[in-house]
């Protein structure tokens, strides 16, 4: 269990957590729906991506590492879709609260 991959994982996952924290602060503090969605999608893409990159050296085999990347892609896909749908609904209903 060498030191360098663990250090890399800790740094990457820590950076990912910072993005998650930023996204949560955005969700709580931004004034309207569209800017909150913007904050959340940053957490989805960058935050989860950095966490996944940090977990890649710790995966058991190549297949497990590939599954982690597939998880990230699927979360991005669904996050982007839901963000679009919420934004369209917001614009259609005229709500900005």
């Amino acid at each position: 269990m060498s030191f360098a991959p663990n250090l890399f994982s800790i740094v990457a996952i820590g950076a990912g957590l910072i993005f998650f924290l930023a996204g949560t602060c955005g969700l709580l503090r931004f004034p309207d729906t569209l800017s909150r969605l913007h904050a959340l999608t940053k957490a989805d893409n960058l935050g989860l991506g950095l966490v996944v990159i940090g977990l890649l050296p710790l995966a058991d085999n190549v297949l497990a590492a590939l599954k982690l990347v597939v998880v990230w892609v699927l979360v991005q896909l669904s996050g982007a879709t839901v963000g679009q749908l919420i934004a369209q609904s917001t614009r259609r209903n005229g709500r900005t609260e």
């Binding site: 209903n93 005229g94 709500r95």
Partner: protein
């Protein structure tokens, strides 16, 4: 305090919270929600009994786990039936709408 005991206490509190919501709300949909919270709390109690029954080869006793899986599926079926009854009842009678929901509706209509 082990994970199992902490999860068990969480399950006990969830059961209490769900029971409170079940009694206090006049709106049937909120009652269905609280009922689901109550149910998941009870399932957690099953879960800690499973975890405490770990043995060689099985990290958790499989029999309570199987019961919980069955329970989750049946609870979903019961919730679906309750929601269908609720919608049908709503089509026949005036719904129960609390002040808070009225304000929420008014606010959405204003924007």
């Amino acid at each position: 305090m082990s994970t199992a005991t902490l999860a068990g206490l969480t399950g006990a509190i969830l059961a209490g919270v769900g029971l409170y919501g079940l009694i206090i709300h006049p709106d049937p949909l909120r009652r269905i929600l609280a009922f689901n919270v109550l149910g998941s709390g009870v399932f957690l109690l099953f879960g800690i009994i499973a975890r405490r029954g770990a043995a060689i080869g099985a990290l958790a006793d499989p029999v309570p786990q199987a019961m919980v899986i069955t329970g989750i599926v049946v609870a979903f079926a019961a919730t679906a039936l309750a929601v269908a009854l609720l919608i049908r009842l709503g089509a026949q009678t005036d719904p129960v709408v609390t002040q808070a929901d009225k304000q929420d509706l008014a606010r959405r209509a204003d924007d």
